[in-house]
């Protein structure tokens, strides 16, 4: 039983680390503001959620696990909202979305 719980938490945390890596590659490689925000906004949200769920599973049934799950729910709502607000600020500031053929910004 202990093996299964540990394996499950390790799978979740490794999945989270994978999405962190892809989000970072997107941040470094994508051509403009909106595509970079697209990569980190989606990738980091899922990565943080998977990592925190992994920690909660590893902790077992306890108050600490409940607190970690509260943080996970908070991040899952707050991060997309923050991404949305930043992208709106970019549009209002007059940034034009990148189209194929243009140079990197």
């Amino acid at each position: 039983m202990g093996y299964i719980i540990t394996a499950l938490s390790v799978v979740c945390i490794l999945g989270g680390l994978f999405f962190f890596t892809t989000a970072t590659i997107g941040l470094l490689r994508f051509p403009d503001f909106f595509t970079r925000l697209h990569a980190t906004g989606k990738g980091d949200t899922l990565a943080v959620f998977l990592c925190l769920v992994g920690f909660a599973i590893h902790e077992g049934l306890s108050l600490t696990a409940l607190k970690i799950l509260f943080i996970a729910v908070f991040m899952f709502l707050a991060q997309p909202t923050a991404t949305h607000a930043i992208s709106r600020a970019g549009i209002r500031h007059g940034l034009k979305p990148w189209v194929k053929g243009e140079e990197r910004q």
């Binding site: 908070f74 709502l77 707050a78 909202t81 949305h84 607000a85």
Partner: protein, 160 residues
């Protein structure tokens, strides 16, 4: 001056989050004397929740919920609680903020009196820090120019 956001997603999420952020701030204050946290940290979180309300719902909404007079009153009451507890200990024959002296008026043993005394001081610190953090954010975000205060605004314009 900050106007209300016209985006329903940002406004709704902020409206849902603000009570939970304030509940968490109270948790941080209440657990300050035996876990990480305390009056200052909890007060900053409370002030941040009001700042979130200010940047999402605008000046008028926040002014309706927390007028500036109440903010200054909260800041002063916090200092009064802190100094009052300290001076009570002094009057009961101990040092300033020597909480164990409070056992005489609280009718508990000195160890409990220390715990309760620290909790009271943390509450006072929390009130003051919340009021001052919010006040600083408010003054910076409005640039000192308040809607409704026409006389002061004219003075500011004339002085450049």
């Amino acid at each position: 001056m900050i106007a209300s956001s016209d985006d329903i997603i940002i406004k709704t999420i902020a409206r849902i989050f603000v009570p939970f952020i304030q509940l968490y701030a109270l948790y941080v204050i209440m657990h300050g004397h035996y876990s990480p946290g305390g009056g200052f940290q909890g007060g900053v979180i409370l002030g941040a929740s009001m700042a979130l309300l200010l940047i999402t719902h605008g000046y008028d909404e926040v002014k309706r919920r927390l007028p500036e007079g109440v903010v200054m009153l909260l800041g002063s009451v916090g200092v009064l609680i802190y100094a009052g507890i300290g001076l009570t200990c002094l009057l009961l024959g101990g040092n300033y903020l020597d909480y164990s002296q409070l056992s005489v008026i609280l009718h508990v043993d000195p160890a409990h009196a220390r715990s309760l005394g620290i909790l009271g001081v943390e509450l006072g610190v929390g009130f003051t820090v919340m009021a001052i953090m919010y006040s600083i954010f408010f003054d910076i975000s409005t640039g000192g120019i308040l809607p409704g205060d026409e006389k002061r605004n004219e003075e500011l314009e004339n002085n450049g």
